[in-house]
């Protein structure tokens, strides 16, 4: 019998043999048509003319649809209603869908796009969030979070440093591009296969677009070929378009974006530009921090407000700072609507505070890691939003990292290497991460699970969670098996389907196992309870005397002859005991008041610390990531291999974001990195061979009532991405070794071009990181860094 922890990733057996089906791998229904989308060729403009007649006459074309053909409401915005499915009068980003062609084959549909006559009067394009802010283009009012007497604290600080930080966006590059298939059913019903993290969001948006009730729309999700946040909100339009095509033609319609289309049309991680101010005491304590974040939200709201909220929640990362004021503006620009991406605004917040911390340590002449360690949160600390840090384990993670890898020795080793070498230098950095777990919109922290036991003892479980590679199905199978006391092989995890689970929250916020695992546990507990009652009725005593373990029924811990799970189930059936249950879970305790900026928004925090070592080649500005070693707190893991896969995969995604993933738009809003030939993500060569991720196991989030689990496990999806941020600070330390007299800006990604030009390019314009208010060397302030903070 498989134990719970060594349970294989449930999908992997099929994956390796090429037998896993993704949306378009499913057998094609009769009459299936293929759709292609006409994107806006400009980033901002007014549509003067849109004529589809010629395209519609092409052989093989079955329909050309525009906003006028939408039977319901032309609106897909899930938070604010600011995003049409198909552009009507104006376009706001390059790639915005304008029309849909449905044809007999996909290539024919794409070719027909060229026959659509489109004239657009261009309008001014803004891609820079600060410019958008200055022009008053905001998605919503700026958000703030404040604690303590910030202005007073700065006045009393030994040193105050300020500067600017730039951090780029990130393309998800899920290997499977966006896709959906819509199959019209009897009456007004529509069945949709979608590659989405948010099946319910697809369901309700399709209903809105088609003008039908939500119960007419069934969304089924077998699995995703990667999501990473990019299919939370942004899978919806493609499903809606397929459904629109299906309604118009009465035939099934499949829409699969090519990689080029996906890169052009879909939103990415938010780029940020930020200003920071940090004040430290003469003892090396951080006394005050102020951050101002200009979020590049793109052309529509999407999830930007929640993303920005998380930036502010994570603005102090793992540090205990008594006086904090953070402010963020969601700036509307003419790039595709920026969206969820693993970390959800948290990483940008972490990047800014790590930059500030680095600057402060450099200014004080203290080793960066000593300064960081000195300022870590303890269990007695409080976050700026008022929540206690009692579940925070960052000191323990840091100290375990130090104990395992000896940070002082690392520094000695690297200093010695740098003394001996002229053109090649090494650097390192420690990256602590403290990340809050829960949807920050409290109402989303709910989930349902449906569990059936069949009379042969096999079990079917449906949850509201989506398998996108993260190993959810393995986790759900372990939870169900563990709760029922049977072999995980008896459990089948079903596709995620809106007819079986209603009103599900998206698989996001690192909370999918937490929410759906607990719902599964609750469903399984109901059935187990009824079975044990039944055992007591049959064999006497109380239900509490009975239990099930390893598929056997026990009475006060002793086996009961031949009575096993199968026998008990069969007997229960004949005695008309309900063998199905729906479990519903809501995370306890959490709440947050946006008005006061106070509350307890997170069930708990996940922590860890990573040591990143690099070597920079001064000749070429290229570099190697030599090693990443880390300690990550997983509580009591449901499945160590699944957790390790999340830790390593997240880390590498973070390393990519900080190094080679260079998302760039030109002034006309064109994506200059619109192909995998220009947008590079980590390949095997980029990843250090010395990658040592250690799982710290503890008892899970402590304290009754704040113990989400399931089974004292901790969330693991997003936090590890942020270890990748360490590479920028490691590179910086190597750069300082190569050119000690240079000041280097805080900017990501650190592409080889940036590294090279920071080293060898002209000094002017390097700005952003320089000291401004530092009392003893004010004279060094460059114009770029002198931009002052002030609301």
């Amino acid at each position: 019998m498989a134990t719970f922890d060594d349970l294989d990733h449930l999908d992997a057996q099929a994956h390796v043999r090429g037998r896993s089906r993704y949306v378009d791998d499913e057998p094609r229904p009769e009459g299936l048509l293929f759709a292609a989308v006409l994107p806006s060729p400009v980033a901002h403009g007014k549509i003067r003319r849109l004529d589809t007649a010629r395209a519609a006459r092409r052989p093989g074309v079955r329909g050309v649809l525009t906003a006028d053909d939408i039977p319901g409401e032309n609106q897909i915005g899930s938070v604010l209603s600011d995003e049409p499915l198909l552009a009507l009068d104006d376009v706001h980003y390059l790639g915005q869908p304008i029309a849909l062609v449905v044809a007999d084959d996909a290539l024919g549909a794409r070719h027909a796009l060229r026959d659509i006559e489109l004239e657009i009067d261009p309008l001014e394009v803004i891609v820079d969030p600060r410019r958008a802010y200055d022009a008053g283009h905001l998605i919503a009012e700026p958000q703030t979070l404040e604690r303590g007497d910030v202005d007073g604290a700065f006045g009393g600080c030994y040193r105050v440093l300020e500067g600017r930080v730039e951090v780029g966006g990130q393309e998800h590059v899920y290997l499977e591009t966006q896709r959906a298939r819509a199959i019209p059913e009897e009456g007004r019903a529509m069945r949709i296969l979608s590659s989405t993290q948010g099946p319910y969001l697809v369901q309700k948006t399709v209903a809105r677009i088609l003008g039908v009730a939500e119960h007419e729309v069934e969304v089924d999700v077998k699995r995703l070929g990667g999501g990473f946040g990019g299919k939370e909100d942004q899978a919806t339009p493609w499903a809606c378009l397929a459904a629109l095509g299906a309604v118009a033609t009465g035939r099934p319609v499949e829409l699969v974006l090519s990689r080029a289309e996906d890169l052009m049309m879909t939103g990415k991680r938010h780029p940020y530009s930020a200003d920071y101010r940090i004040g430290v005491s003469s003892l090396g304590q951080i006394e005050a921090f102020e951050g101002r974040y200009f979020q590049n939200a793109g052309a529509a709201c999407d999830l930007s407000l929640a993303v920005l909220g998380r930036t502010l929640f994570h603005a102090t990362n793992s540090y205990d700072i008594p006086h904090v004021r953070v402010w963020g503006a969601p700036c509307r620009t003419n790039i595709p609507p920026s969206t969820a991406f693993r970390g959800f605004g948290g990483p940008q917040g972490l990047f800014v505070i790590e930059s500030a911390v680095t600057r402060a340590a450099e200014s004080l002449g203290i080793d960066r890691e000593s300064f960081q360690r000195r300022n870590l949160l303890s269990a007695e600390s409080r976050f700026p939003y008022g929540q206690s840090a009692e579940t925070v384990t960052i000191e323990r993670c840091w100290d375990e990292l130090d104990a395992a890898f000896d940070l002082a020795d690392v520094r000695r080793r690297i200093d010695a290497f740098n003394l001996e070498n002229v053109s090649v230098k090494k650097g390192f950095a420690v990256m602590p991460v403290t990340f809050g777990i829960s949807f920050t919109a409290t109402f989303l922290n709910q989930a349902g699970a449906l569990l059936h036991v069949y009379t042969d003892g096999s079990v079917s479980v449906t949850t509201g969670g989506v398998e996108m590679g993260q190993g959810l199905f393995a986790n759900m199978a372990s939870v169900a098996a563990r709760t029922l006391g049977i072999d995980p092989e008896r459990i089948r995890i079903e596709s995620t389907n809106t007819r079986r689970i209603a009103n599900m929250s998206a698989s996001a916020a690192s909370s999918t196992t937490l929410l759906n695992g607990n719902a599964t546990r609750l469903a399984a507990e109901q059935v187990r309870g009824r079975l044990l009652e039944h055992a007591a009725e049959l064999h006497g005593g109380e239900a509490a005397d009975y239990s099930i373990a390893d598929g056997r029924v026990l009475r006060t811990g002793e086996a009961m002859g031949q009575l096993d799970w199968n026998g008990l189930v069969k007997s229960a059936y004949f005695h008309r005991v309900a063998l199905s249950a729906h479990g519903f879970y809501r995370t306890p305790v959490i709440h947050f008041d946006a008005e006061s900026g106070r509350g307890h928004p997170f069930a708990y925090h996940v922590c860890g610390a990573a040591l990143v070592e690099v070597t920079v080649d001064g000749w070429r500005g290229t570099y190697d990531i030599d090693a990443v070693r880390l300690v990550h707190d997983v509580g009591r893991p449901l499945n160590r291999r699944v957790d390790l896969g999340q830790v390593e995969g997240g880390l590498v995604q973070g390393l990519g974001w900080m190094t080679v993933e260079d998302l760039r738009f030109d002034g006309a809003g064109r994506n200059l990195s619109g192909a995998l030939a220009t947008y590079k993500v980590p390949d095997v060569e980029l990843v250090p061979r010395e990658l040592d991720a250690r799982l710290l196991e503890d008892d899970g989030p402590g304290g009754p009532g704040s113990e989400p689990g399931p089974y004292r496990s901790k969330a693991v999806g997003e936090p590890p991405l942020m270890y990748g941020l360490g590479v920028v600070f490691a590179l910086r330390s190597a750069l300082r070794a190569l050119k000690p007299d240079r000041d280097f800006p805080f900017v990501a990604p650190m592409t080889p071009e940036r590294v090279f030009m920071q080293l060898h390019g002209p000094v002017a314009g390097a700005g952003g990181g320089a000291v401004a208010a530092e009392a003893d060397d004010l004279a060094e302030a460059t114009p770029a860094s002198a931009e002052t903070v002030g609301v």
Binding site: Q13, H15, D25, G226, R620, V642, D662, R689
Partner: protein
């Protein structure tokens, strides 16, 4: 011309593809997914960057007794090129249960969303089936000097996995190689139960196809080029440039057009000259003993070019005629002093020779006459005592297009540079040979002489700002690369002193 059916083996089935219903330019990927509806092969990018579509291509060795297998990105291979070959998808590797590679990927947790996984399985098995290469190296000590680890990385080089972070994939691949290296090759893997028995029949079945094509004109497209249709040598850039039009139309596979011309593929010695067939793949270049005897580091240079799964398709001739100003192999060939050998296929067989630097006249403008095809490349005077170095700077080290690449060949006599050839890519509309910088390098090596060469180079290049980097960056990069060449190639120059003189000035 193209009305003859394309006959090939796909997995264990004979396929007869009618060009009337399937355009010969259609990609193998589209044929597999849309016509065969075999969904294990995935489309991730259609530009060779992700590896989700990798299949094996088996090709009968000239002797006809053995099939050599290469992993290729099927999104850039026209179905025309399948003729006479054996295509193997992940389904075709199936032995009724998971094989070793598959078991270990599961065991290591190296498959998460699964979308990249089938392609990776194909590459890993491809490394083992390939009968033409030595089996994967035995393991060594230490992460940095570990030849097996290098082998593992090379096998995974053309694959993107966005989920796992590669550590588990490395581990699974390494364990597979360790377990099966003794069984490498078709026969060994079949007897170990790791490959379907049907592979044993493939040489005979491909021989039948070859014989049928030779006698019955079943594959009569091989008889000559179709001038109206695009010629495809490897297609690895052509299909990126024209991915929407080529698949809808017929193409002429140069492998088929030149099937009767053995000199068009492979490396041979001809007096003082080395002759390289235009259809020689990059991977064949990297492995060729004659070339390695003269340029020992060529395998390391080739690691910087594309990926294994693309190098198996990309050809020398395709790279030169594609005329990308940044073509890696083109830059290397310029430095090696290559001469292009053209032939008008409609003519009487006479050839025309042209030094490579004379071929390029402007952006993608060639001194090539209508009907002429590049048959060979001649390296007139490359000797084993020449020193050659190649530099490439790109955003990502592997499978990326260079920002700047460069190659230098020097001939030393008593430490004095008697001859030098400097070529640089990415700094002009054409792949650039630098005559002045080459001249300036000649003589007794010194930092002053190097500075003079750098100044000469600076005057010869004209980089522009684009997505690969700013003009300023490229200009400085050329300077640094050339200095690095000098420090590498000229023992008289101290590397640190050169660095200080050039990079900290």
């Amino acid at each position: 011309m193209e009305s003859a059916p394309i006959r090939c083996l796909i997995n264990d089935r004979d396929e007869r593809i009618d060009p009337a219903t399937v355009p010969s330019g259609l990609t193998v990927l589209d044929f597999i997914r849309n016509h065969l509806r075999a969904p294990g092969t995935k489309e991730g990018c259609k530009e060779g960057d992700c590896g989700a579509c990798v299949v094996l291509v088996g090709e009968l060795e000239p002797a006809g007794d053995r099939v050599r297998y290469w992993p290729v990105t099927s999104c850039m291979m026209p179905i025309a090129e399948a003729a006479g070959r054996h295509l193997v998808t992940v389904e075709g590797l199936d032995v009724g249960g998971p094989n070793m590679a598959q078991r270990l990927i599961v065991e290591e947790g190296a498959s998460q969303c699964g979308f990249c996984t089938p392609g990776i399985v194909v590459s890993v098995m491809g490394r083992l089936v390939d009968g033409g290469s030595p089996p994967p190296t035995a393991g060594g000590d230490g992460p940095r000097s570990d030849a097996l680890a290098d082998d593992v990385d090379r096998a995974l080089s053309g694959h993107l996995c966005r989920c796992t972070g590669y550590r588990s994939l490395r581990s699974a691949t390494r364990r597979t190689f360790e377990a099966l290296r003794e069984h490498a090759g078709v026969d060994g893997l079949v007897s170990a139960g790791e490959l379907p028995d049907s592979f044993l029949e493939v040489p005979g079945r491909l021989r039948d196809l070859r014989d049928a094509a030779a006698t019955g004109g079943l594959d009569s497209a091989a008889a000559g080029p179709a001038p109206a249709t695009p010629w495809v040598a490897g297609g690895t850039d052509l299909y990126v440039q024209r991915g929407e039009t080529l698949p809808a139309a017929p193409v002429s596979s140069l492998h088929r057009v030149l099937a009767g011309r053995p000199e068009a593929r492979g490396v041979r010695l001809d007096g003082e000259s080395l002759r390289i067939g235009a259809l020689t793949s990059f991977e064949e270049l990297a492995q060729d003993p004659l070339l390695r005897a003269r340029v020992p580091a060529i395998p390391q240079f080739m690691d910087l070019v594309a990926s294994w799964q693309i190098r198996t398709r990309s050809t020398l001739g395709g790279n030169l005629i594609n005329a990308s100003p940044i073509g890696d192999v083109t830059i290397l060939m310029l430095a090696l002093g290559a001469v292009a050998v053209f032939e008008d296929l409609g003519g009487a067989g006479e050839t025309r020779e042209l030094p490579l630097e004379a071929l390029y006249r402007g952006y993608k403008q060639l001194d090539r006459r209508p009907g002429e095809v590049l048959i060979e490349v001649r390296l007139p005077d490359l000797s084993a005592s020449d020193r050659v170095h190649f530099e490439k700077t790109s955003k990502r080290r592997w499978l990326d297009i260079a920002t700047v690449n460069s190659a230098v060949r020097v001939r030393l006599g008593d430490g004095v540079v008697e001859d030098a050839r400097v070529a640089v890519g990415g700094v002009a509309p054409i792949p650039l040979f630098l005559p002045e910088a080459s001249r300036a390098l000649c003589g007794e090596p010194s930092l002053d002489r190097l500075q003079a060469a750098l100044e000469a180079a600076d005057a010869e290049i004209a980089p522009i700002s684009d997505v690969r980097g700013s003009a300023d960056y490229k200009r400085l990069l050329v300077r640094h690369q050339l200095a690095a060449h000098a420090a590498t190639l000229l023992p008289a120059l101290d590397a640190d002193a050169t660095y200080r003189a050039v990079a900290t000035a």
